[in-house]
């Protein structure tokens, strides 16, 4: 029995080793378009509108509308912040009833069911962050066909299933910010590792692909050690970060957290291991979760857009679409307190460049 146990464990581990790939970055394998190394802006090509059109929409211009915000999941700080943005925009606009409801797990089926129910209940607009771009498409198309306006944020669906998508930052922009940030801390020949959510999460996989391409293009000597999964689970992220440090020892100079859960957890791991200053951590993170580490001097800086602004912008864009002030072909849209936002790639509203939170500015943010 003991033999059996050991044997199977050994076998499975060996089988796993044999199967393991050499360098597995965790990217999605789709084509990439890394930005220029020097930061010169990418040429924004104006392309024709490629979003969907809402059918038989009632004319609600200026009238009171009710909208629902469906994030990937509820119960994590990031989407709590976007929900706050949605609520703020609704308050600023004055003629929008907004509500946030989402699945308790990042589960495609629950999200679809939820949206479907809201379509039936007859809301006027939906803002969403998709768990899967394809899976969510049918139900969104159904909403469009019933005269419901649909705007995405954070994680897109296929373009033909929504009108507009508010992009927090372009994929290659985030990739550049993260890689440049880590490179500036650990040097051009430093080695780093990534803690991501799961390899199945499209957004993270996209970023990682872009990061990999950008590293190859602009920081060719940097060593990408490996990418590990930690779901949206802070204890697991913490453990994985620890394991990375233990595995690579002095070789590991930096960790990039790809989720707002992983980055503070990795920071905590570095702090608890007394490796502040020896291992740099950066990544995507909410300022509130990072304040102890950045103010304490353990971590230099993390990258993120303002998720509240993201929710805010999505709501503003939706209102503009309902009112007809935002039409296919427009190149910018007015978004309340956020001012004018650019529109690229046919139907993508750009929130702006990602913000790097450092000791200097982090206390100005509260989300």
């Amino acid at each position: 029995m003991k033999k059996l146990l050991c044997l199977t464990t050994g076998l499975v581990l060996m089988a796993g080793t044999a199967y393991a790939e050499d360098v597995w970055t965790g990217g999605d394998g789709l084509p990439t378009s890394p930005l220029a190394c020097d930061g010169s802006p990418a040429t924004l090509t104006a392309s024709p509108y490629n979003g969907a059109t809402v059918q038989n929409a009632p004319d609600l211009k200026g009238k009171q509308i009710s909208i629902v915000d469906v994030p990937k999941l509820i119960g994590i700080g990031y989407f709590t912040a976007t929900a706050k943005g949605v609520a703020d925009a609704a308050k600023d606009l004055g003629n929008v009833d907004a509500k946030t409801d989402g699945p308790t797990k990042a589960n495609i089926d629950d999200q679809i069911t939820l949206i479907d129910n809201y379509v039936t209940s007859g809301v006027n607009g939906i803002v969403f962050a998709a768990n899967d771009p394809e899976a969510i498409a049918p139900v969104l198309k159904k909403a469009l066909s019933k005269g419901i306006h649909v705007v995405g944020y954070d994680s897109d669906s296929t373009p033909d299933a929504r009108e507009w998508f508010v992009n927090q930052a372009s994929f290659n922009g985030v990739a550049k910010a993260l890689i440049d940030n880590i490179a500036s801390q650990i040097g051009e020949d430093g080695a780093f590792a990534i803690v991501t959510s799961t390899f199945t999460t499209p957004v993270q996989a996209r970023w990682i692909s872009e990061m990999s391409a950008y590293t190859a293009k602009c920081h060719p000597k940097m060593k990408w050690l490996e990418t590990v999964e930690a779901q949206e689970d802070n204890i697991l992220s913490f453990n994985q970060a620890n394991t990375l440090m233990n595995k690579y020892g002095d070789e590991l100079k930096g960790i990039i957290g790809m989720t707002t859960v992983a980055t503070p957890a990795a920071s905590e791991a570095v702090k608890q291991a007394n490796m502040c200053g020896k291992i740099a951590v950066t990544g995507l993170a909410l300022p509130n979760a990072m304040k102890p580490y950045i103010n304490g001097g353990c971590i230099n800086g993390v990258v993120l857009w303002n998720p509240s602004d993201l929710g805010y912008a999505a709501t503003e864009v939706l209102r503009a679409a309902v009112d007809g002030t935002l039409k296919p072909g427009d190149t910018s849209v007015k978004a309340g307190k956020l001012g004018d936002l650019k529109i690229v790639d046919g139907s993508v509203v750009l929130l702006g460049d990602p913000v790097t939170f450092t000791k200097e500015n982090i206390n100005n943010f509260d989300f």
Partner: protein, 328 residues
């Protein structure tokens, strides 16, 4: 005579070592597997056995080990609790909410334990007196706890926790406190289950309810008591879980309950009840973090972690089934 299996076993009983292995077979098996993993992986990458990594491996799943102590008792009785994951999430959030509201830390640590005892005692009453199967009760409780947690916290992370509250980050002689909790509670529970009449009664009821009645044990009362105790361990596990980092999420790891149940089962608790100790489940919890760490060290994608665990569960329980067939 040769047709009784007992004959084959009897001559061995003179050897104390064999006796030990026979009594703690599954525990020994887990320990050996753990050693095999440690030896193999550290040969490939010596960093695996670095003090920091050992610390992480032992501490990383300490809260799972603590929760598995209670789960072991529940399974010994022949029941199961699939709500333990959600419960740990709820109790951790309660602890965190109290902490940021400025209550003294001992209140923040004690209240979740008491709430855990209360909730599980209610489950125990439904199981023992209303005779609803434990899996049905706890299936319902999962929904109530999960929904309740989101409704109450609105999904907001609890941050700005006072440093003195973060008990899981305390260290003594460089070893994080969860390790002490895990070891002390495991030994305390192990000793209690061996030396306390109440502890022995768990084995009696799990092994043969009717026989237990004839020796004066009241199975219903005992069941409620064990569930309450299980709630206490859940509460302690929740505090350890919630204080490990600087923030408390209102979600728990996916399938946390399955991990805890698996730790108990791999640790040697017979799912039919009546046999097993808490030492095995604690070893199993450490074993899990050793495997999960080994996967990173061996560059094996975490995809395979689940497959490995699945094979392990099947192998151990198969071994248990085979051994049982030998006994009866």
């Amino acid at each position: 005579m040769s047709h009784s299996p007992s004959q084959a076993l009897r001559p061995m009983s003179s050897s104390a070592l064999l006796k030990f292995i026979r009594a703690y077979g599954q525990e020994t098996a887990v320990l050996l597997s753990l050693l095999v993993i440690v030896v193999v992986v550290s040969l490939i990458n010596p960093n695996y056995l670095g003090p920091a990594n050992i610390n992480n491996m032992v501490a990383g799943n300490a809260y799972i080990a603590v929760a598995a102590i209670g789960m072991t008792m529940i399974i010994l009785l022949g029941h199961i609790d699939v709500a333990i994951g959600a419960l740990i999430g709820v109790l951790a959030s309660i602890a965190g909410t109290l902490a940021v509201s400025g209550y003294p830390v001992w209140v923040c640590w004690l209240v979740p334990v008491l709430v855990g005892v209360f909730i599980e005692a209610v489950v125990g009453v439904l199981v023992a007196y209303a005779r609803i199967p434990a899996i049905v009760v706890t299936l319902g409780v999962v929904s109530i706890l999960k929904g309740g947690l989101i409704t109450v916290t609105q999904g907001v992370w609890i941050s700005n926790l006072p440093p003195e509250f973060l008990i899981a980050q305390f260290r003594l002689f460089g070893i994080p406190s969860p390790v002490y909790f895990m070891i002390l509670l495991t030994i305390a529970a192990g000793v209690w289950m061996r030396y306390a009449p109440f502890g022995r009664a768990i084995y009696a009821v799990g092994g043969n309810v009717e026989a237990a009645r004839t020796v004066g044990i009241r199975p219903e009362r005992l069941t409620v008591g064990v569930f309450a105790l299980h709630g206490m361990f859940a509460g302690i596990a929740a505090v350890l879980f919630g204080t490990q980092l600087q923030v408390i999420q209102s979600t728990v790891p996916n399938n946390l309950e399955l991990t805890i149940i698996t730790a108990s089962v791999i640790g040697g608790v017979s799912i039919i009840g009546g046999r097993g100790t808490v030492y095995g489940s604690t070893l199993a919890a450490i074993f899990f973090s050793a495997v999960s760490s080994a996967l990173v060290f061996l560059n094996i994608s975490a995809y395979w972690l689940r497959a490995v665990l699945g094979v392990l569960i099947l192998a151990t329980v198969l071994a248990d089934a085979m051994r049982r067939r030998q006994i009866h």
